[in-house]
Symmetry: C2
Subunit: 420 residues, 2 copies
């Protein structure tokens, strides 16, 4: 099964925006057992879009496009598809009504141009848009003139705005794909997310034990990111479910607590979830991570039940006045030291009244290193009312990577040490 | 001039990673006067890569590929290109020496497989890799068998790791492109970054005054993001420089302080730059942005000279104990109020001893709204030793967008109000 994604948008060609649509769609498809074979992006230019769609229809069974369905003169996809496939466009009464309601509900005037969004090519199925005015469209290209003899292809047009595209894909397009292209064999997939181990260390541990399952058809993939390695287990066929769950068993046995979550889990969401379940509150004291840990924690809905306070204490003075770090400790050990990390954690715990406190102090660079504490050195402290603990890490990477890698290590210490 | 980019990598097809390479390359090319006409991504699969390169060579004068040059069995690009173009591969002595030094400098053993990175197709030019072992390659496809009669095409292979790709492109590939494809006419481009105004408000203000320049060939592009609209001015021909600078003049005149920077500037970098120049220190008190403002500020190298402390005070207790917000004020006005924003800012100023303090309190949602203060309501306070100021904003969007939009408004208030 050949699947292609076409992302339209001049901004994509000028480097103005990142192509987040493709990543999201590819992942959703993958978790449902489908693999994208090619992705193309082209500018909002009639010729370029038509060429790209014609090329994709010449190769693929399923073509998904994003963007170009709005009401402006840049929005060309609907018209181009109709022209390319020789289909007439006609106004769809339901869609027109939806557009009218969309504006009247919001007490806004209906712009003249917006009606074009109700134009539907002959034979196309309308995909309702609950979050905007432009509907998606799905149509069978049958016969497919660009791929003679290969049968029909399914062409699906999705709107560009993320909050319109995502629910439309999840609720309408994926079920349509699953009906139109039922998987030839049972499919099972699992992503296990790990932190704290490198890719090769993981490979060394798991590959001997997975060999038998791999010979039987289990696929194993690695996706190494900053401070995180995701492991993908995939299998097809009658034994798909068994192969994946046996693989998962082995991974959990070998990697144990390095695995922090599954599928779409994030480390911060896991931490918030577990602290909430345990009814524990948290305080943060961040130096070199500069607020990133607080930012990640507060990205999780419900974080306010867990996080009492975060303190970004970049200067020595702030460490002293806000956290009660001792002048002597700073003078004797330096701001980047085990002793200071410990006092920061205890200070955050006591001053916020939380159950747990996490503290980070390190040298992000580019400046500030020394022979005994080179750029990349970091101390992470954890305090509860019973114990304190400090670990030393070394992340000699650029500033932004350093901040993220350190935040992973800190969240992971929190997850593992506080009995989570 | 047709330019295509091909990004190889199975992870791109499975949605494991975002395609940041394409965005970066497209923007670098654009600022140098070149526009990418198509971008393709394909998995690490021999057939798929060969097809994509053949297709691109059939259309383009310049083809750039990323990835697939490393030493593992997944790294296929070099071999495939040689096969596709019928070129022999032979070891390059310089590259071999570079690889050896790379490992011995790091006191690591040289893996056996790594030698393949020194294999160079006949006639290809080696692009030295200062940050890794795999060199880039540039070759003239002459004659180009996939585009008969159209002359030679230039094919450039770049390594996948970001810190290898970026300097190689900037230092070696862009100059090569500029020599091989000199711009037919003078080119000028400028990006002006704005915040605080919507795209249509900007368009209304500037388009009447720009009309004349646009008729003379000035191109104007909008890139609307969360809390930011970037304006692109581009012109070609003998008057390119004049058109762009006259356009910039009009934009600055009409939009004035809404413009915060040029080209690759970020709002946080501008704020840190100006505070540093004015020798002013900053403290932050964040509720609903949860540390994002501190995170953005500390992403800027040198932020430690400016930021004394950031306080993330999610709970009422933290607002009271860490910032000195009055119990009465919280009871009377609620945590999300002008009065609390003001007390938070003043508290951060006094307790950190900074020259300026910025405070944010609002309702990110999804829960917590009320009829008079619906989800999305936010108060941003700014305090100096002379004055205080509070603005009210309304950002009724999803949680992460809310946080970013609010952080833009807060940084912008800081930029504009504190005499920056």
């Amino acid at each position: 099964l050949n699947i292609e994604i076409i992302n339209t948008g001049t901004e994509l060609m000028l480097g103005g925006v990142l192509n987040t649509h493709h990543q999201w769609l590819a992942q959703q498809l993958y978790l449902a057992g489908y693999v994208v074979s090619r992705q193309t992006s082209v500018p909002d230019d009639g010729r370029a879009i038509q060429d790209a769609i014609r090329d994709a229809l010449g190769r693929a069974d399923l073509v998904l496009t994003t963007g170009g369905l709005g009401p402006t003169s840049d929005d060309l996809t609907r018209d181009l598809i109709a022209a390319l496939l020789g289909k007439k466009l006609s106004y769809d009464a339901e869609v027109l009504k939806h557009i009218e309601h969309f504006y009247t509900d919001r007490k806004r005037e209906i712009p003249v141009t917006t009606r074009v969004q109700a134009a539907v090519p002959e034979g196309a199925r309308v995909l309702a848009n609950a979050h905007g005015t432009a509907p998606g469209l799905a149509m069978e290209v049958d016969p497919n003139p660009f791929r003679p003899g290969a049968g029909a292809s399914l062409l699906v047009l999705l709107p560009g705005p993320r909050r319109e595209l995502k629910p439309m894909f999840r609720e309408q397009v994926l079920p349509l794909i699953q009906m139109r292209f039922p998987l030839e064999q049972p499919f099972a997939a699992r992503i296990l997310r790990t932190t704290g181990l490198g890719e090769s260390a993981i490979e060394e541990r798991i590959s001997p034990r997975l060999r038998l399952l791999v010979e039987q058809g289990l696929e194993l993939g690695y996706c190494a990111q900053v401070g995180q390695v995701d492991l993908r287990l995939v299998a097809r066929g009658d034994r798909a479910g068994t192969l994946v769950s046996e693989g998962e068993c082995i991974l959990r046995d070998e990697l144990g607590p390095a695995i922090f979550g599954e599928d779409e889990a994030t480390l911060e969401a896991i931490v918030v979830q577990r602290l909430t379940a345990l009814n524990q509150t948290l305080a943060l004291a961040e130096s070199c991570t500069g607020g990133l840990i607080a930012h990640r924690i507060t990205n999780v809905p419900g974080a306010s039940r867990v996080l009492l306070a975060g303190l970004v204490t970049y200067s020595n003075e702030a460490k002293q006045t806000l956290l009660g770090v001792q002048t002597d400790t700073l003078a004797q050990h330096g701001a980047v030291s085990e002793a200071v990390a410990r006092e920061m954690a205890v200070g955050a715990l006591v001053r916020s009244g939380s159950d747990i406190a996490l503290a980070v102090t390190g040298i992000a660079g580019p400046g500030g290193g020394s022979p005994t504490k080179p750029v990349g050195t970091v101390f992470i402290g954890l305090a509860t009312h019973q114990t304190t603990e400090v670990i030393r890490q070394f992340n000699p990477v650029d500033r932004e990577t350093f901040k993220f890698a350190t935040s992973q290590q800190a969240l992971n210490l929190l997850r593992r040490s506080a009995g989570l």
